[in-house]
């Protein structure tokens, strides 16, 4: 990676972190743990579709680790790492079958994969399989928030995608 690419990825990581930290300050939308907007994922989706998987993975990893430090909750890293990995793989797979103007679809499925990952970890950590009853309601929230972040990412790519790729 050249210096320009490195600087660009660093800026994108900083943007993702900024969004993440601001979202931390927002009041919880629902009393259900695990339901959040996940606005920082806009950056992940944008990076995946404009820069490719390697840059997207780097940005996501840095954001997850630094974000957990900022939130002061290392347990959250475990949850978000599991969710993040599944979501990332979903993006990677869908990228091949989606047209440029359909990238918001990938975001929806990535959000659902993220929720699945969270529930899997929660069930493993607390040794409580019955936690899976939360999955449907998390999926509902995942589809809606995934759609929101996906549309935001779509908008971003159509506006600044060209400049990012340069």
């Amino acid at each position: 990676m050249n210096v320009k690419g490195l600087a660009r990825d660093a800026v994108l990581t900083a943007v993702a972190l900024g969004i993440f930290v601001v979202e931390l300050q927002l009041p919880a939308l629902t009393p259900i743990p695990g339901v959040k907007l996940g606005l920082a994922n806009i950056v992940t989706v944008v990076a995946m579709f404009t820069l490719g998987w390697a840059d997207a993975a780097g940005i996501l990893l840095c954001r997850l680790v630094l974000g957990s430090f900022f939130a002061g909750n290392m347990m959250a890293l475990l949850y978000s790492a599991a969710g993040g990995t599944l979501a990332f793989l979903t993006l990677l797979l869908l990228r091949r079958v989606l047209a440029e103007n359909q990238l918001w679809v990938a975001s929806v499925f990535a959000a659902m994969a993220h929720n699945l990952g969270q529930v899997l970890v929660a069930a493993a950590v607390t040794a409580t399989p019955s936690i899976f009853v939360y999955l449907p309601v998390l999926l509902v929230s995942g589809i809606i928030t995934g759609l929101l972040t996906g549309l935001a990412a779509q908008y971003t790519v159509s506006r600044v995608g060209r400049h990012l790729r340069k």
């Binding site: 979202e23 927002l26 009041p27 907007l37 606005l39 929101l148 549309l151 935001a152 779509q154 908008y155």
Partner: protein, 335 residues
């Protein structure tokens, strides 16, 4: 598509523009021989500060820890720390208000029953009579006690601790929080959604709660025979010792809950009222006019027969669970 995206961006912006609601912070602390749970909405550093405060107070107020402040006072006559001294004087006030039904000098008798160690025994009549010689808040002059007398601030320590933590939280700008110090509850402000905190009152006859009270900037403290007891030869001996008889109090009450802004007072009164029984406790409550100058509190009594009596301030705030009928609840009035 573009319009939808713009709408979404606007929505995100609108959400970020909201003033940040403080996050819920909570912690569990094992101190003063019990479990304490603190939760507040705001800065997590305040919780760490609260934990330090509790640890300091535990040390200063402990009568059982050989390194504790009260232990040193009892055994070597060392001067009490600032908080312990303040609490000593507060306890003396409560003793005067209740005619000695709550008395910190009853400690030698409590020791004889083994309630501090769990090595339970039933002391003989003569032993109790000899120990009672040293008991009595009137025998103290200032901080000077007769030879052989000892104090235990345990009956007011948790209430006092809740007051100090609530003060700390207010100083740090916390406007919503709840603490449960081993059954001594203090509710600071309202819940973040604007409704009052809902505090359950333990049912002395089962392991559930018998009802709830709405709580805002008040302590809710319950004393009951069920908390600590032992059985010998078919007789149950509980831990609330009547300072007059030196034996577990038998007043016809199963539990007493006191609700008011002063946690120390509520803690001490719940013990005193349990010892005094319904009628004498109600007299004291009536004598404290709700004029702002006298102590401000309300009481919920549960008798051995399972009847519930509440003082008039709890009307509307107390709601019994389904196991109890509203008709079973009697209201005590001043008029």
């Amino acid at each position: 598509m573009r319009r939808a995206a713009a709408l979404c961006a606007l929505l995100c912006l609108a959400l970020t523009a909201c003033s940040p609601a403080p996050a819920k912070q909570s912690s569990t602390i094992f101190a003063m021989d019990t479990v304490m749970e603190l939760q507040l909405y705001g800065d997590g550093a305040v919780l760490a500060e609260s934990t330090r405060l509790i640890t300091e107070l535990e040390k200063e107020l402990s009568a059982t820890d050989p390194e504790g402040g009260v232990y040193a006072f009892n055994h070597t006559g060392t001067e009490l720390g600032k908080s312990a001294a303040e609490l000593f004087l507060r306890a003396m006030d409560i003793s005067r208000l209740t005619g000695g039904a709550m008395d910190i000098t009853v400690y030698p008798v409590v020791l004889a029953w083994g309630f501090t160690t769990g090595q339970y025994r039933v002391p003989g009549d003569e032993e109790i009579a000899a120990l009672l010689e040293k008991v009595g808040y009137t025998k103290a002059s200032g901080f000077d006690l007769p030879q052989g007398a000892m104090i235990d601030l345990g009956a007011v320590a948790k209430g006092y601790t809740s007051d100090l933590i609530a003060d700390l939280w207010r100083q740090r700008g916390i406007s919503s929080g709840l603490m449960n110090l081993g059954g001594n509850v203090y509710a600071l402000g309202k819940k973040p959604d604007g409704s009052p905190w809902l505090v359950g009152v333990r049912d002395p006859f089962s392991d559930t709660f018998l009802g709830t009270v709405e709580a805002e900037d008040v302590a809710v403290v319950t004393s009951g025979a069920y908390e600590r007891y032992f059985e010998r030869d078919g007789v149950i001996y509980h831990h609330i010792i009547d300072p007059k008889t030196g034996r577990p109090a038998k007043s016809g009450l199963a539990s007493v809950t006191v609700i008011g802004p002063d946690g120390t007072l509520c803690d001490g009164l719940s013990t005193a009222f349990f010892v005094l029984g319904l009628d004498r406790a109600a007299e004291i409550w009536k004598s404290c006019e709700a004029d702002g100058a006298s102590p401000d509190f309300d009481v919920l009594f549960v008798t051995d027969g399972g009847e519930i009596y509440i003082t008039e301030g709890l009307e509307g705030s107390f709601s019994p669970t389904n196991d109890y009928d509203t008709g079973d609840v009697r209201v005590i009035r001043r008029g």
